[in-house]
Symmetry: C2
């Protein structure tokens, strides 16, 4: 879908909210609606159409914005959002929505000061409502991001990159370089490589700790491609697994399979969480599953919908979500298995393709 079509879709929501225009200041939302990738921008999206819509950025992005956003009238000023608000009245805007879930209390005060003849109204989450369902271009980018992560992990393993004596940091660096060489712009987030007892820390920053025989080694990482994030986790064992490691792995694998099977259009997100979590709870380990089941992914690594007990709403076709149960035994080790999936008409398609079997390295 083109950026112009996304703006058209947003206009319906803007009118529905009783607004004449929406001031989009969240940079991710600006990128979604215009294609602009710089670090300072805002969009005054007029409900009437693109002719009265204005795109704002500053002088550093003069050339880039002309190339990336050729179809909107530019406003080049450093105080971008305020500059756009100053033009709103002249564009016949009376009720102007602002992204109250992105604008800080202080920024809001500055906008109110600049809003002569215009009423600012809270309008949280309008662009996110669109973003939660991915179009073909987006799903394609997510697929490519997932494929790079899969391939980088396969290469890392083939090269013997996950082995005794290497540090967590070595492994993370090696993995990230492989993703970059395979075409990722950057890692999607700070990679987690956690070995031995560290694998029991859900979000562990790689350290100088060396991998040792018998360790569980958990890798949680992803690739950034055209602004889209992939997210996957695999847990390996160095050498033959101990019984407790095998049991833990099997439990998490069964929970993850149950979670994946529950990812269907129309299913409540809390029910997806429950389907996966109940497997772990039934085994008496509910307390050791310390986080939600998963989250949407797209232009942000964490976005709607949240797959958790407290999450609200149902899945719909075109959503992209992670399913990532984990069980963490403090001081011993933990297992997490995570895929990214796309919700299709009658099922979900995992776009993370690495095996989910326990692999001994």
């Amino acid at each position: 879908m083109s950026h112009a079509s996304r703006r058209t879709a947003l206009r319906a929501l803007v009118r529905e909210a009783g607004l004449d225009a929406l001031l989009v200041t969240d940079l991710v939302n600006v990128r979604y609606l215009t294609g602009f990738t710089g670090s300072n921008a805002a969009l005054l999206l007029h409900a009437d159409g693109d002719a009265r819509t204005r795109f704002g950025t500053d002088g550093r992005y003069l050339t880039q914005s002309a190339a990336e956003v050729p179809d909107l009238v530019p406003v080049i000023e450093r105080a971008t959002a305020r500059a756009l608000i100053g033009r709103a009245a002249a564009l016949d805007v009376a009720a102007l929505g602002f992204e109250s879930d992105a604008v800080t209390v202080e920024e809001h005060r500055a906008l109110v000061d600049a809003a002569e003849g215009v009423t600012l109204e809270r309008a949280p989450g309008l662009v996110q409502q669109l973003r939660v369902v991915k179009d073909d271009t987006e799903i394609d980018a997510l697929r490519r991001a997932c494929a790079i992560a899969d391939a980088a992990l396969a290469d890392l393993i083939a090269a013997g990159g996950i082995r005794e004596g290497r540090t967590e940091r070595d492994v993370a660096l090696d993995l990230e370089e492989r993703m970059r060489r395979l075409g990722a712009q950057a890692p999607a987030f700070e990679s987690i490589v956690a070995a031995g007892a560290n694998s029991a820390i859900p979000h562990h920053s790689p350290t100088g700790a060396q991998l040792r025989r018998g360790d569980l080694v958990k890798l949680d990482f992803g690739a950034l491609v055209d602004g889209y994030h992939s997210d996957m986790t695999r847990t390996f064992v160095l050498g033959p697994p101990a019984d407790w490691q095998r049991e833990l792995y099997d439990l998490v694998a069964r929970s993850q399979a149950a979670g994946r099977a529950a990812v269907l259009p129309g299913t409540q997100v809390s029910d997806v969480d429950k389907a996966s979590r109940s497997v772990i709870a039934d085994a008496g380990r509910g307390e050791q599953f310390l986080h939600g089941l998963g989250h949407g992914v797209g232009l942000q690594i964490h976005e709607a919908p949240a797959l958790s007990a407290s999450g609200r709403g149902a899945l719909a076709e075109g959503m992209a979500v992670t399913v990532e149960p984990g069980v963490y035994l403090e001081g011993r080790g933990g297992v997490r298995i995570e895929d990214t999936l796309v919700v299709l008409a009658g099922a979900a398609e995992p776009i993370t393709l690495t095996t989910r079997e326990l692999v001994e390295l």
Copy 2:
């Protein structure tokens, strides 16, 4: 300075603002005050002392927070800020400041809902007031970050990494890998490598464009070390420079030297900008210097103070700032030269040590 001493210093500002406590929700500020490096946390800093101060995070960070923040009472709940607010009244907090420059309008509403018996008051920038002056630990981290960037660039050049036929993306990846291997946690930001006409784009994302003989090649990059960011820019020429390239380079180098010389404690930040900018304006190229002169660096890549015409306030000992004038000739090429400097008692010390002479590659 220890995290506890920083909290003590902050308490003076909190009391001065007439507050009983400050709810710190900006993650960078939480890190500065506690050492916590995870992705979800908040701090209820009580003006009375650490005994009544509470540190909040969620279950994913149970182990990590115990290790990183052993000296504060933890509150482990997913809705961290709200959980802390809920405990404020019991800790004898009546007037509670919140970071209105970090809290969104929607988050503020949720906090107000949770604030029974407590009055929320806007308190922007209190932690930033402290952060703007770096202590020895911080300056040491900045020095190491700058040293890694310098060394990576030297290595890249020595290896012939900036050469005809390579793409901008190749060069960026090579440089970033070298920084990682030298000990950086990550690049400090998305590296800019811009060759030929692209060098006239101040913030240019590396593309598949190949470097060609005669090109100006601009690299703007930095290393992240212990959470601290370095920031430097150098512009090279592939082969002997044309006259216009030499002239442009000399102009920017003179402007940058004037800017560095103006970095002194007590000098208004706008005067530093002016000292550097006037050199370029006098040469009739003021319109082609498209951005501010520089910015503070620390736990964020851009922080206070802003060195710009509209910036307010004076430099003080212990500040760390960049000085980065540039002149951009659209369609032809641009030059920027940037160092990070630390403001000392009677002068500024550049902690970027790479030569500022024009280097032919």
